[in-house]
Amino acid sequence: MNPIILIASKESGELLGSGRGLGWLLALSVILSVLALLLVSNTELSLLDNAQVVYMVMGTITALGGLLALVLGSDAIAGEKERGTLIPLLLTPLTTTQMVLGKMGGQVVAWVLMYALSLPYLWAVGSSGQNLVQAIAYLALFGTPVVLGFGFYAIGLSARFGNVRTALLAALITLMLLASPLLIGPSLRQSTLGKLFDMVNPFSAALNTFDSVVIDSQPFSMQLGRFSVTLIWLALTLWFARRSAQAMEI
């Protein structure tokens, strides 16, 4: 069997078979439920307010997906090291790329589950509004590279620091910074610095696309630049994870 698939199935099996992994899914569904329940009382929304709600839920799902990827990624190599299972893993005829991609397999499964979990919520809040199908499609298209990029980034940090807590802390700080547009609205990001930050931030690219597609009903051709930003983020973080895994000290 391909070693990448072997590691990926081991990682995803651990995620789905362990109470910890399922506990994460439960926690994520509780967060989405609370968010949805907060919206129940507000039935006097206009059509665009409804789209705003769908946009908000999409942003929250992407942030939660990123958080899950960071936690799993931070444990990927440093966790093996702390548990004393890294050396046996390195003694197998695996390349670092295969190890990184295999570790990523578990995160892909986690994100797919998280995405599937979010669909009923998106339907519940958005089915009587506008652009629900687009919302579902664009969450997959833009959310996936952003979330998996966070996963690669955390694997890279995990390899560099060799310590789960340090890697997780650094990763969380990065997530807080990149996901800040969730809290700071577009009107507050109009300074030169804000615009520059938006231009290079993959999370902003995803959020601005959700806004553009769900609220303003704009076509994919207008999202190409933002899509490139998310793909560049994915490629850079993959490179970072590989380099860090190659340079790690045991």
């Binding site: 789905l16 078979g17 109470g19 399922l22 506990g23 899914l25 439960l26 569904s29 509780v30 989405l32 439920s33 609370v34 949805a36 329940l37 919206l39 129940v40 507000n42 039935t43 006097e44 929304l45 206009s46 059509l47 665009l48 307010d49 409804n50 709600v53 979990l117 009923p120 919520y121 339907w123 519940a124 809040v125 089915s127 009587s128 509004g129 506008q130």
Partner: protein, 174 residues
């Protein structure tokens, strides 16, 4: 306060246009499209047709025609910002010979429930008053956008489902 002031300015302008109607060089008609839904609700599209005709013996030039929308629900009277309602907010006609006319269609997406009046206004390069069509009124039915009957089963059911699945998996492993 600003909205009320804008409403007064708009109404004042329209009243002014009414008194000057007889001298107006341009006549504007406004008719709803025959395919418009009888009871439009949020999310529906309405279309209005307007015909702008030069009724004077002189050519008019630099004619700008635009659409305005006013909400007239008691206590909520206000001009509506058309940004989200219509992408087609104005039309330009460089010149219009005597007797000549042109028509403009105005599609509107209904964003918020309420009672509305739509009017087409025009400004000509030399005319001293605003030119306006008669009002067209319409009512937009409310459409519940966030429904508890849809959210509650999902919000309560999903965590319960995952909790049950988790408990079953863990019990099997023990």
């Amino acid at each position: 306060m600003k909205r009320i002031m804008s409403l007064f300015v708009l109404l004042g302008a329209l009243l002014g246009a009414g008194s000057a109607w007889a001298d107006a060089p341009v006549q504007i008609t406004l008719t709803p499209d025959s395919h418009n839904p009888a009871q439009p609700k949020m999310g529906d599209w309405l279309k209005f047709h307007s015909v702008i005709k030069n009724t004077s013996s002189q050519p008019v030039s630099g004619l700008v025609v635009w659409i305005s929308l006013v909400q007239v629900d008691p206590g909520k009277e206000q001009p509506v910002d058309l940004e989200d309602w219509s992408a087609h907010k104005a039309a330009l006609q460089p010149s219009l010979a005597p007797g000549q006319s042109f028509s403009v269609d105005w599609p509107i997406r209904l964003i918020q429930a309420g009672n509305y009046r739509v009017v087409i206004s025009a400004a000509e390069r030399t005319a001293s008053t605003l030119l306006a069509s008669p009002f067209a009124d319409f009512h937009v039915e409310r459409k519940p956008t966030i429904e508890s009957k849809r959210i509650l089963p999902v919000a309560l059911g999903m965590p319960l489902l995952i909790a049950a699945f988790t408990a079953r998996r863990l019990r099997r492993r023990m």
